[in-house]
Symmetry: none
Subunit: 202 residues, 2 copies
DNA sequence: TTACAATTAATAGTTACTAATAATAGGTAC
DNA sequence: GTACCTATTATTAGTAACTATTAATTGTAA
């Protein structure tokens, strides 16, 4: 299954996607897959800041792959898939909706699935051992239908002592379907930061 | 000979132990740790049939990455039990919380389970074929611990055309743990429909 | 045609190995 | 003492999957 005739941007986007799905692909295999030279693939990786295969594998093994940085939630506790995170700042999670999340009759996703995505992402980005939701304001903009993929972006808008105001925007096909403002309380601080921002997530 | 054999055996045993704890150790690092040459470590690994570092890491990575990243809420887990309802007016639902709904570390129930209870109850008391949550204000008063039983009471506070303001109060042991105000939109009226009781959420 | 981006090639150096062979230190057996 | 044996260490050649750098080639648009 060789892919051809791709623009540079398209190729880079695809490389990203492929590596998110399968971090075990070497440059050589990618080159064969996309029918470009190994050097081109390497340049692409460099431009996108994606580390080499061996480092990616180590990340996966250590679970340093963004998910492990999360202290409040373990990976099984996160609804959706966490794809990028900067602790204390922001994060992105994706949820692929299915029929089982929807009302049978309409195929519309039940609101609490969307809230669950937003809420667990919001909690994930708090840099604390224990984080609890206190107050939330939710706004559902558009119905989401089973099969649509939701992209949630959360951002710490304000911090006062142990109180975090987190805003979450959920989109499907570039269109906003949900926004929420959550006030989250951190119960314990885990401030033994080990600087390394990014490389973990791409 | 015996003494040396013993030390060799001891070393190999230790290597095994070290690698079980930390599969990321290279031969070089092991050699430094045990103060033996890299070649000796290699021979030890060979004798014990332990693969090289990179292969060990791949094993670890494949194991951990096989974990299902997308965890969704199961129906039985969120629904709770609808114990009383007056369509268009009010309703009561009960949810027995379990460990699987809680943070492992603290045993505190994840907020979206409580919201799910409140939201699906609120939707179910709306006398409409399709009801969707539009806006919600949530307030978590107290942490709920796994094992506690939650009682949710929902009431239609106001109705304007297809817009319902529903307030939900959730208690555990007579104490309020959550309140929410939800604005729910009915999309179609079901007052004439047969079996007008909501399959929507319950 | 020139200019520039995109792509490919080529080269040297790295890590963490495998595989094979050889050298050395120490003891044992007769 | 010499032959033998084991454990250990060293050496060499070769591998995959890179990084980093420089250079050459191809394509395309002004």
């Amino acid at each position: 299954m060789i892919i051809q005739n791709l623009s540079k941007m398209e190729r880079q986007k695809k490389i990203k996607e492929y590596l998110l799905k399968d971090p075990f692909l070497s440059d050589k295999k990618l080159a064969e897959l996309f029918n470009f030279s190994v050097q081109t693939i390497r340049l692409d990786r460099l431009e996108m800041g994606i580390p080499e295969m061996r480092k990616r594998i180590i990340q996966v093994a250590k679970n340093t792959s963004s998910i492990d940085k999360v202290k409040s939630l373990k990976k099984e506790e996160i609804i959706g898939e966490l794809i990028d995170i900067e602790l204390g700042k922001n994060g992105i999670a994706i949820l692929k909706t299915t029929k089982s999340m929807a009302f049978n009759r309409t195929g519309i996703i039940r609101s609490h699935y969307i809230f669950s995505l937003a809420d667990s992402l919001a909690i994930s980005i708090i840099d604390a051992e224990v984080a609890l939701t206190g107050i939330a304001r939710l706004s559902y903009k558009k119905p989401v239908y089973a099969g649509q993929t939701l992209v949630a972006k959360a951002r710490v808008a304000r911090k006062r002592s142990n109180k975090f105001l987190v805003s979450v925007h959920v989109k499907s096909n570039q269109k906003e379907v949900f926004t929420g403002k959550l006030i989250i309380f951190s119960v314990k601080d885990s401030s033994k930061k080990e600087g390394g921002i990014n490389e973990n997530s791409y």
